[in-house]
Amino acid sequence: MSGDITPQPSADEDVQRATTDARMGGGTDDRFNSPLRQALGTSPFILTKFDRFMNWVRGSSMFMLQFGIACCSLEMMHTYAVKHDLDRFGAGVPRASPRQADVIIIPGTIVSKFAPRMKRVYDQMPEPKFVVNMGSCSISGGPFQEGYNVVKGAEEVIPVDIHVPGCPPRPEALVYGVAKLQDQVRAGESSPVVVKPYELEKFGDLERDELVDRLAERIDEDDLVMRYNWADSP
């Protein structure tokens, strides 16, 4: 009978692979592919070492975007400040300009009017960039999920690497979240970029429907807009 039982380790491996596939979108990991690497083969020694070094670099030092939205931003400030001192991890330099930041912590509720602006700020950051979702509002809308104006989580708009739950999460939790993100980056994993349900589009490109027709007089064809289909939201 014992022969029929699948050995436990391989099941674990399956789970692990499934997790990796789910995270990476399956197949080979070609996010760091370069012409040089293609010329030299799949995993040449020097470039592997170099990749590992770059991952260590990106995981060890991070500039945060100075980005406050709601309640969680206070706990975020406490995380930067005296007692918790996120800078110990090399992640405590808040930069006001998105051009110079690596990590955006999203500390609060995203509402319909803010989502396009947040998307724009995210787009302004240079690659490689990482996103930490802080608090239940940016995970799912939190206590305000039923609201007519509340986007059900930041992941509807931009890709997210780490979720830190809580309302608001304690500074310790955020420190843990950032440390986890650093581990993830050092290990060479980061979330795949997928198409989000809410994107910035040109108004002229939208499908003509009743709503678009009614707004047509007010909005310029070239203006960027974000269209919310609330009924389809989770």
Partner: protein, 551 residues
């Protein structure tokens, strides 16, 4: 004030409503009685004349709140008036309009503060105010379809939100010189959250300023309207003014609901409420101090960090008491959720340690900030807010008190245990950014005094009389069509709640009168003509919390 005297009953000192109705004469079509005051029903085209009489002849110089709501048969705007001298003198003006054509005269000519109130009413409920100088949506995007607090609003309809680079509103209107339009916010290090200021600069000076709100409009009123009185609403107030002033906000709801359902609060619980609320006030003022200095100093430097350090200490105390660092959820209708944690002495020691070290910390702040000459050149005589303007815009709290308006609901409209304690209302006459900072710093000291007295009382309170909760029915169902508006002194000023019940266990209309909203509405007045840097400093000194502005 001489004009108010004939309206006050000489024996009881209470407002003589009959006298007011007499003054108004023909304007009234009906009388209404709300739980906290009497109200006159007037026609929608006589709003301004009625309010002007009330303002000029009856002395109501403070438009405290404007509530708008939709009934099955009509729309209604309610204007709640108060006086800055004695906020217990209240009066309501009810303006019903037809459902087919919801148009009502604006009150902006009489009270400037009505401007933003009515924009909000237009935005969320859909009443149009005729004669309003600037009737645009304020919280929701311009392109929004429908009015979400109306009765027939379908929440599942798709919406489109535009993202446009705004045009310079002054282009072509300025005779000389060239102006530059600049968006400050919604993502900007100095807007304290997600405020968007549309600024037109003339060189370095602000020529025109238009605050654009709604980047944190989380539908708090809708959320509260869909929660039950007893338990489901209380968590939301914590998230209005989230600068750890949660308990002060909870008190606003608790006071209104207790007034509505006629509930008592045991004395012991009142002391606990007073103590915890004042701890919150210290926490909130520390943040105001830290971020204001952040605006002036420019980096996350010493003052900011020290303020955070002191906040951390208060938060530890509050965490011991309530179990949470920020979102306390500590009050219940008719009391508080739990007593001081055992062993009590440890908690008292924690508070005593904090209180003992607070004077030294405040001295340090004075050393670093207020006595610094560079700081003084930056803040003294900048961002002037004249008392008249402050009253017109409905400013309250430290902002009003720094303009010499002696208005503090803790003393003037007493609640909790404040009446029994010995403390002062702080006012300053400077009207500038510096005074606003000074008021906050001195209020921290006053709060410490209040906490000290509360702790002394709590230490000696007999063990068998520690009643933290009065008897409250499991489900609260106030009588249909009961209306009340009650306010408390929040960290930023007069935080009022209006509730109308419809006989169920959920409110039919829940309206928040946010002090930050009105303090912010005065920003164009104080910042236009100033330098950008002073505009930023003034914004910091108004101490807005976007969660409370946008709700």
């Amino acid at each position: 004030m001489s004009v108010t005297e004939p309206l006050t009953d000489t024996e009881t000192g209470e407002l003589d409503y009959d006298a007011i109705f007499e003054i108004l004469g023909d304007h009234i079509i009906d009388r209404e009685s709300h739980v906290h005051t009497e109200a006159a029903v007037v026609r929608p085209d006589e709003v301004q004349s009625t309010l002007r009489i009330l303002r000029e002849d009856a002395g109501f110089d403070h438009l405290s709140c404007v509530v708008s709501q939709e009934y099955r048969d009509r729309f209604e705007s309610v204007y709640y008036l108060k006086t800055y001298d004695d906020p217990t003198q209240e009066f309501g003006v009810v303006v019903p309009t037809s459902r087919d054509e919801p148009k009502s005269q604006t009150a902006t000519g009489v009270y400037e503060t009505a401007g933003w109130h009515e924009r909000e009413a237009y935005d969320l409920v859909g009443i149009e105010y005729e004669g309003h100088p600037d009737l645009r949506r304020i919280l929701l995007p311009e392109s929004w379809m429908g009015h979400p607090l109306g009765l027939d609003y379908d929440q599942d309809r798709p919406q489109i939100v535009e993202y446009r680079e705004h045009e310079n509103p002054l282009e072509g209107h300025v005779e000389e010189g060239e102006t530059m339009f600049i968006n400050i916010g919604p993502h900007h290090p100095a807007t304290h959250g997600v405020l968007h200021l549309r600024v037109v600069l003339d060189g370095e000076q602000v020529a025109d300023l238009d605050p654009d709100l709604g980047y944190l409009h989380r539908c708090e009123e809708q959320c509260c309207q869909s929660g039950t009185y007893r338990h489901q609403i209380m968590p939301y107030p914590d998230r209005w003014d989230y600068a750890s002033a949660g308990i002060l906000n909870e008190w606003a709801y608790a006071r209104t609901a207790e007034n509505l359902a006629d509930l008592d609060v045991p004395e012991y619980a009142q002391i606990l409420r007073t103590m915890s609320a004042e701890l919150c006030r210290i926490c909130s003022h520390m943040l105001a101090l830290g971020t204001f200095c952040l605006d002036i100093y420019g980096d996350f430097t010493a003052i900011f960090m020290y303020a955070m350090r002191d906040r951390e200490r208060v938060q530890n105390i509050l965490e011991e008491l309530t179990g949470q660092r920020m979102m306390f959820n500590y009050f219940r209708l008719g009391g508080v959720v739990w007593d001081i944690p055992e062993p009590r002495q440890e908690f008292f020691d924690l508070v005593w340690d904090f209180l003992d070290e607070l004077p030294a910390a405040i001295d340090e702040y004075h050393d670093l900030i207020t006595t610094n000459e560079v700081f003084q050149t930056r803040t003294v005589n900048t961002g002037i807010l004249e008392p008249d303007v402050a009253k017109q815009y409905g400013c309250t709290g430290p902002v009003a008190r720094a303009s010499g308006i002696d208005y503090d609901l803790r003393r003037d409209d007493p609640y909790g245990y404040y009446e029994e304690l010995d403390w002062e209302v702080i006012t300053e006459d400077g009207c500038d950014n510096y005074s606003r900072l000074l008021v906050r710093m001195q209020e921290v000291e006053e709060s410490a005094k209040i906490i000290e007295q509360c702790i002394e009382l709590l230490e000696e309170w007999p063990e068998d009389e520690r009643e933290i909760q009065s008897n409250v029915p499991r489900t609260l169902k106030p009588d249909p069509d009961t209306e009340t508006y009650r306010a408390v002194e929040g960290a930023k000023g007069e935080l009022g709640i209006y509730i109308r019940s419809d006989g169920t266990d959920k409110p039919a209309r829940f309206k928040i009168r946010s002090p930050c909203y009105h303090n912010l509405s005065v920003l164009p007045e104080i910042a236009e003509g100033e330098y950008v840097a002073d505009m930023i400093a003034s914004l910091g000194s108004l101490d807005i919390i976007l969660g409370e502005v946008d709700r």
